[in-house]
Subunit: 489 residues, 2 copies
């Protein structure tokens, strides 16, 4: 038992230090004075170097070689540590340094290229990022599919082939649902302005309604909403737009979903490798089910309508039914992060297919923009007008995040599965939501998903929670039923 | 040059990591949700362990052995690193761990004993803290005065004997000035209430008036005002009391003094051992000269009077002269942190003499309360009524901070020297202050003190700035002249 105890004591300090690095990131986006950026960059770099040195500490290998797992929690801890250690050890230090340097430069280049609508100026550094990530994938995974090696970092156990099959099944029904919706008359849209204080007050009420625990968290404003931290300190941010309070409200609910996952993990996993969400996909399943299947449901929006009238008086939407359509309004647009439930996954699928081809070497970086624009036209029916609305819109590739995009849609797929199972188990959900009460729904999610942290691998976790292996069918059924209802299809 | 470069690169990362640990402390006092305390304690512990491991890294010794100093900046960097390394290496790891554990327990015990007015329950753990600090002093300094070894950690180069002589010269004149003042009729005191928003708005205006740079800092509320950080990110906190806006204003100006010292250091010292204030005493000299010699001057308070009337309308003080008396009101009180300029140092001198005797072994821990009460009665003329107003009022000893108290009065002594020199060099100071303009005074301080960071040792720094070795005389002259004027003595 000594090896296991020593390893876990070392790991516990690493988890704590890693939490500190996360806090530093939170501070940067919320509190840090502008003039501190250069110093903060050095602080981040020093923390990253220190954490990397801990992650390749040879004692980890020694401990792993002799550690026994007396129970399933210990076994899962060892599995997580081993997985991370072996992956880290396989990447040569020079490559890790080169990747850090290159992505830092690529990120700055991307921001400039996007501002100048100049794809060509971004391609050379993107090529280098792709090459380095392929090199990393080869170091990690040897001869297996390099894309899978990258994907595995965000979604343990997932493969490009399986996700590809699932996504290929999603795409035609989403394209056709989208086309049918956009043939119909548009529902009312929100007009007028909504003061910031009112948005923030209602946003905080929504966070509380979804069970976010402010004694272990806080809400601040930031340019981009995010959730950060785990265990006893899980913070979220939100933002306001005068003409679009839904941006604030649904960003908040989305981040509350992420935060409640972290807050809902069994305390016995605190500061262990199991003490955080198990994968990006499962994380996104929680944020999306809170935001969409619960937060954008007809039942919950009927309650929200009353709340908004209390705060903003009559804001020009006649009744709950019209408000439901308004919240779930589907319209043309180029930008993934602004997309509705129906179109969002089409944006992701486009990126998944392109990045998989890039990493496989089947698509040249020089052909990326054309491939993007062709695919966009095919799925959405109109042409990309400028790079910032197309291939340069997302930050991810500049940061080397290949294999990350599909976890967004996988999260929606998981949310579809969980929603179906939860509604079977908790038949009162809609009646509760109409009162602004999410407690039964979120308790089911905590009980069946959140509490386990990293104990079970993603597909095992969803299978245990729903009684069946995850498929895209529940998500598609849910979307088709919901939007046929709203648009009278 | 390789050894020096390698050492400085290593040190730079240590400075950055140390800054992160400081940020964590700032967050804890300002932003952290209450429920995160246990997790934060582990994060602090992990950062402290990691920083300690860096500070005893044997490579530092190797680098120091061969590093050359091509200029005075490099020489000063090496001196600071050597000093810190040698001191850290002399303290056995077991003793360091025992000290950390014991002071943590002593701090909790002190809080409970103070709340229960029960000195006896605090004495056993205080005895252990004293013993461990004596053991540390012996490890660090061998046969020299153990108090000097502790003092040197806060005020490099200072000795108990020298400070004792200086403080013995201060005491009788302060006791007699205090007695003379309290024989006179009291000036008007502030009555009524002052809303928090108004206090915070004026507090921010005061911070700006004293040159605090908000692009490299921020102001938040906290239970106790403090300043933290250095270089490009120096933050302060303040607090408000409805009936006492001076608490907010002068806390802010005090912390701005600390913060401007850090902000004023030459950028070339950023993230080096010279990139922070050189000692506690010099730090306190800046906070006190901002707060008192500038902020509580007749000229500045005449401007502040107008500002307060703008914000709070007529608040019951008839004119600038009455307001000046009101700001500088001297009255009886037991608590050091609430004391005015005249009495503050008497509180410090009491602690200095007692802690020096404790560490020398001339005073038993069991006799501490009686010694405190006797001395208080002698200097202040009335008896301590309960331990929380006496020996249990300060947190310092529970945390093992022996040698820290005298730096408060040393800071006032330095402030007295600097004030006299600055007023000679900048004859327009009072005319400027009467307009709320501190720029000439603070520019002189930046030029002559702040910019150098850790480049010169404390007494050298003050001597260079003022043209003479520091003595208590200018402080005494200043206090006697000022308060004779206010109280018509």
């Amino acid at each position: 038992m000594t090896a296991y105890k020593d390893l876990m004591a070392f790991q516990r300090e690493t988890e704590a230090l890693s939490g500190v690095a996360g806090m530093l990131g939170w501070d940067q986006e919320t509190m840090m004075p502008d003039g501190a950026a250069d110093q903060r960059a050095e602080e981040h770099g020093a923390m990253a170097n220190m954490l990397h040195a801990r992650r390749i500490d040879p004692r980890i290998g020694d401990w792993l070689a002799t550690a026994d797992a007396p129970d399933d929690v210990a076994a899962a801890n060892l599995r997580q540590i081993k997985r991370s250690y072996e992956r880290t050890m396989k990447v040569p230090a020079t490559l890790a340094t080169e990747l850090a340097k290159t992505t830092s430069l690529a990120h700055r280049t991307w921001a400039k290229s996007r501002a100048e609508e100049d794809v060509a100026s971004f391609l050379p550094i993107l090529q280098k990022v792709v090459d380095l990530r392929r090199e990393e994938a080869a170091a990690v995974a040897g001869d297996t599919d390099p894309y899978d090696a990258l994907l595995d970092d965000y979604e343990p156990g997932a493969t490009g082939a399986e996700l590809g099959a699932m996504f290929d099944a999603l795409r035609p029904r989403l394209v056709s649902l989208r086309a049918a919706i956009l043939d119909q008359p548009a529902p009312v849209v929100l007009t007028g302005t909504f003061d910031e204080a009112g948005q923030l007050a209602l946003s905080e009420k929504l966070a509380a309604a979804f069970g976010y625990d402010l004694t272990h968290g806080r809400i601040d404003k930031a340019l981009h909403p995010f959730s950060s931290g785990s265990g006893l300190d899980v913070r979220i941010t939100t933002r306001t737009e005068e003409r679009d309070p839904f941006n604030c409200f649904y960003s908040t609910i989305h981040e509350v979903g992420h935060a409640c996952y972290e807050q809902g993990i069994d305390r016995k996993h605190l500061l262990t490798p199991l003490g955080a969400g198990v994968s990006m996909g499962v994380h996104e399943s929680q944020s999306r089910i809170y935001e969409n299947q619960l937060g954008r449901s007809e039942a919950f929006t009927s309650w929200l309508y009353g709340q908004m009238r209390d705060v903003f008086s009559d804001f020009g939407v006649a009744d709950e039914r019209a408000f439901y359509g308004c919240v779930n309004h589907v319209s043309d647009g180029f930008i993934r992060t602004e997309a509705d439930e129906v179109q969002y996954n089409l944006h992701v699928l486009l990126r998944f297919d392109l990045e998989r081809a890039l990493i496989a070497g089947d698509l040249a970086v020089g052909d990326l923009e054309a491939a993007w624009n062709d695919r966009f036209l095919a799925d959405f029916g109109y042409a990309v007008d400028k790079p910032s609305n197309g291939v340069l819109q997302d930050v991810h590739w500049s940061e080397g995040l290949f294999g990350y995009f599909p976890t967004y849609t996988l999260g929606n797929v998981y949310a579809g599965c969980l929603n179906a199972a939860m509604r079977k188990a908790v038949p009162t959900v809609d009646a509760d939501l109409a009162q602004g009460d999410t407690s039964a729904a979120t308790a089911w999610l905590r009980e069946n998903v959140q509490q386990f942290g990293g104990l079970y691998q993603p597909t095992d976790l969803i299978t245990r929670a729903t009684g069946a292996a995850p498929t895209e069918a529940p998500l598609l059924d849910y979307l088709e039923e919901k939007f046929r209802g709203i648009y009278n299809l």
